[in-house]
Chain length 141, copies 2
């Protein structure tokens, strides 16, 4: 069982977003758990991450991946870190600069996304990553 | 008033998606209308687009834009085409090849998105495009 933690600054809990995310959480059941950790500001985020050693950071200047590359990276990180993966989404002002040196920077798009769309896209890509690994028909390219 | 038509193959009407899209439609009121045209297959899409002269096509091999670049492009197209803009989202197998030569190809991300996430991202970027043009605090970079 894979255990993913997603850290973010700012909490978003719109009903539509919870509903959309839940669809993926249900489909991931038995394969991957996703735990959300909401920090109220950068200082709280840094303090939470102090206990973690490995993380992937979502940053607009990060490296972009295709879904297949994202899948390989995610599976690889999970295997290296005892089936655990930590992902970090910055707030509206981006990630705290001191954090950027400590993890792998990735970007979902050249476009700027809302926090909500970033959360949803990330969960869908995690689901897609497992489908790609398992070679199901979900991902077409 | 800007008039945008979004053509796509396949209909998606999940409740969460309608709710999320509605939030942007409401915020766009008085400034931009969005009309969705769902085609049942590529042939129906091609027939719908036959009547249109100008369109922007979402394709995984299209050019990527930052939100500012997307905004400039959208505003520019709207101004050139009498405040009208047509956008096309392909189905799971991508856009019909014969269409690709006829419009401007853009990509939302290197990642493969679901139809739902593409629709939501597109509407949010259209809203963001107007905010950028109007210089409101919505878009930070």
């Amino acid at each position: 069982m894979y255990k993913v933690k997603i850290f973010s600054v700012g909490k978003t809990k719109e009903r539509w977003l919870e509903e959309a995310i839940d669809l993926y959480i249900k489909r991931l059941k038995g394969k991957m758990t996703i735990e959300w950790l909401f920090a109220k500001d950068d200082a709280a985020l840094l303090s939470q991450l102090n206990k973690e050693r490995h993380f992937i950071l979502l940053d607009e200047n990060g490296k972009q991946h295709t879904s297949r590359q994202f899948s390989s990276m995610v599976i690889d990180e999970l295997e290296k870190n005892g089936s655990r993966l930590n992902l970090v989404i910055g707030g509206a002002e981006g990630l705290p600069p001191s954090l950027k040196e400590k993890g792998n920077l990735i970007s979902l798009s050249k476009l700027t996304f809302t926090h909500q769309i970033a959360r949803l896209t990330l969960v869908e890509q995690l689901y897609r990553a497992l489908q790609i690994e398992q070679n199901t028909p979900y991902h077409k390219d």
